[in-house]
């Protein structure tokens, strides 16, 4: 077994036989043709054939990889039909008294060198296109159909791959690409991304690998040749999981989150930063049910400014394009410590100075965040959620501060969503038990099951010794959830779950029966939960 490092362009795992793709087409010879006019005519005819081929490839690519990625073959047609290319070939044939093959090869090299010498990455990458079109004409001139495409599913290894080479291969036979050259901007990379197969570049490939078994790990950027049994078994399992996920993704993307008896559920995703939004969209969540704003505080050496926060919230709201984005105000303290807050050491931090308790005692920090949130609400569908509530009094205080901040923005003429939804997290037994009263004060409830479980059972969730009694399905917790839903509905507001329990498929049906209106789970769990919702009934 041997491992080789490369740069991963597309993530994922592939296992298969190594196929070494080479472009050996025989050497181009410099010859002196008998008839220069006939040589020029040969070139013209070959060029026409090449243009026809490109037309066909364009049509094929259009169907397989979409217009945006097929456009390159239209460009190749333009380049080949271009005066510069033709003039250069004809000129070399005439002035150097040489054969068409030599003139085409020289032209391809010259133009490719010209682009390779350019500074800009985009133009630099066009060198491959010049090579590609000249090789196509050469192929026609030399009468060679290039028949070294794989006949069975393989991991394709090559020095480099031209876009026309990859598109002509039967996609069913491509498990992965591994090349020595190429860049993450190259067309091969784009195609690999489009086909969603793992691809590596920058690997020191060797011809001897041909026919051996290989594993491409696009998550770690490694190629394994001749894996041992344990490694193979490990990757077979990963591959199986990957297949299941893909199948699920394909089948459930775009489907509604609706129970068998027709209740629509808000199926949202949890995120911890701007970078997580791509996964939310990829997994087709219908919104963000918990945007943990802590990252802004944890990644910073000092309190993040209103502007810094505004930028992050606005970006997420815009990326979600009108879908709901529920942002939780800072939840620092307990297991999330930040030095500049100077919170001091506590004997019992889980029950200590944290989250909304900090916000209400240090309203300046709170106001800065609220201003940023409200300003961002002008750019999308934002809702605000307050954590660690235990009393009506806290909610009243929050509402007073929120009102003051809104009035301030209004007087400054700064736009914000005046109907912004404001809800609270139900994560203490106290809040769950008085949820009938709290429901009258807010727009929604989101149940944080991690803390609710730890506080209800009095079991520290970070103590490994207590794992056996940290029963996440404890009847007490489930009853509290049911109570919260009932009280929410009585007051005409919705209730959701944003803790780990929300993605527990064993409980999905039970949650539906309890009347849970929203589930916010990590992105990778969205589609499995969707599947379960669609198989559940509320009655």
């Amino acid at each position: 077994m041997a491992k080789f490092k490369g740069k991963a362009i597309v993530k994922g795992v592939a296992i298969g036989k190594i196929f070494f793709y080479s472009k050996d087409k025989g050497q181009v010879r410099r010859e002196k043709p008998a008839d220069l006019e006939a040589e020029k005519a040969r070139y013209e005819a070959a060029k026409e054939t090449a243009l026809e081929q490109l037309g066909e490839i364009y049509e094929k690519a259009l169907k397989e990889v979409g217009e945006e990625n097929a456009a390159i073959f239209e460009v190749h047609q333009m380049l080949l039909a271009d005066d510069d290319f033709n003039d250069s070939v004809i000129n070399i044939i005439e002035t150097e008294n040489v054969n068409a093959e030599y003139a085409v090869a020289r032209t391809g090299d010259n133009l490719s060198d010209m682009f390779a010498a350019m500074e800009d990455e985009y133009f630099k990458a066009r060198a491959a296109d010049m090579k590609d079109i000249s090789e196509r004409v050469l192929n026609v001139l030399m009468g060679g159909g290039n028949d070294n495409a794989p006949k069975e599913p393989v991991i394709l290894i090559a020095e480099d791959l031209a876009p026309s080479e990859t598109v002509q291969m039967d996609k069913a036979n491509l498990l992965s690409f591994v090349t020595r050259l190429g860049s993450s901007n190259s067309h091969t990379a784009i195609l690999a991304r489009n086909m969603d197969i793992p691809a590596l570049i920058g690997v020191d490939i060797e011809k001897e690998w041909a026919g051996k078994q290989g594993i491409v790990d696009g998550n770690k950027g490694i190629l394994i040749i001749d894996p041992d049994e344990a490694t193979l078994a490990e990757y077979e399992e990963k591959l199986e999981k990957q297949k299941e996920e893909k199948a699920l993704l394909a089948a459930l993307k775009g489907q509604e989150d609706v129970t068998l008896d027709g209740k629509h559920i808000k199926l949202y995703a949890n995120i911890g930063g701007v970078g997580d939004v791509a996964d939310v969209l990829k997994n087709d969540a219908k919104g963000i049910g918990l945007f943990r704003s802590e990252f802004l505080y944890l990644e910073s050496d000092d309190f993040p400014t209103e502007e810094q926060q505004f930028e992050a919230y606005r970006k997420v709201a815009q990326m979600m394009a009108g879908k709901k984005v529920i942002i939780r105000t800072l939840d620092i303290g307990a297991d999330k410590q930040v030095e500049y807050f100077n919170l001091g050491k506590e004997d019992n931090p889980a029950l200590g100075y944290r989250a909304i308790r900090i916000c209400l005692q240090q309203p300046d920090i709170f106001k800065t965040q609220l201003r940023a949130l409200l300003r961002a609400s002008a750019y999308g569908n934002i809702a605000i959620m307050y954590p660690m509530i235990i009393s009506e009094n806290e909610v009243m205080q929050i509402k007073e501060i929120s009102r003051a901040v809104k009035a301030e923005l209004k007087s400054e003429g700064i736009p914000f969503d005046e109907n912004i939804e404001e809800g609270i997290m139900i994560e203490t037994p106290a809040a769950a038990i008085i949820s009938d009263k709290l429901a009258k004060l807010v727009d929604f409830f989101s149940i944080g099951t991690n803390d609710l479980t730890q506080y209800t059972l009095a079991v520290d969730r970070q103590n490994a010794k207590l794992e056996s009694i940290a029963d996440t399905h404890h009847e007490a917790v489930l009853r509290l959830i049911e109570l919260v839903c009932k009280n929410a509905h009585a007051a005409g507001i919705w209730a959701g779950i944003c803790g780990e329990l929300g993605s527990d498929l064993e409980l999905t049906e039970r949650f539906m029966k309890m009347g849970v209106d929203e589930l916010s789970v990590s992105s990778s769990r969205v589609l499995p939960v969707r599947k379960k919702i669609r198989e559940s009934s509320t009655k």
Binding site: A71, V75, L79, D82, D83, F123
Partner: protein
Amino acid sequence: MKSFTYKITDPVGIHARPAGLLAKAAKASGSKVTIEANGKSADASKLIALMGLGIKCGQEIVVSIDGGDEANAVDVLEKFFKDNL
């Protein structure tokens, strides 16, 4: 001869596809169209030469039109740049 200046707004600059379209438009205009940038110039009807200028986003270029229906060509090309680049 007529000319105008234009500032490229396409994030990739004059890349392959619009360059191809520009070459077509330049040929169709019946005038000789020259693009100047970075102290170099190229015949706009020649795609590879055009791309060889390596014109990037934010760069200012001078488009000159010589011969044929110059006034019409200016209108057509100005619109082309605004729409595509």
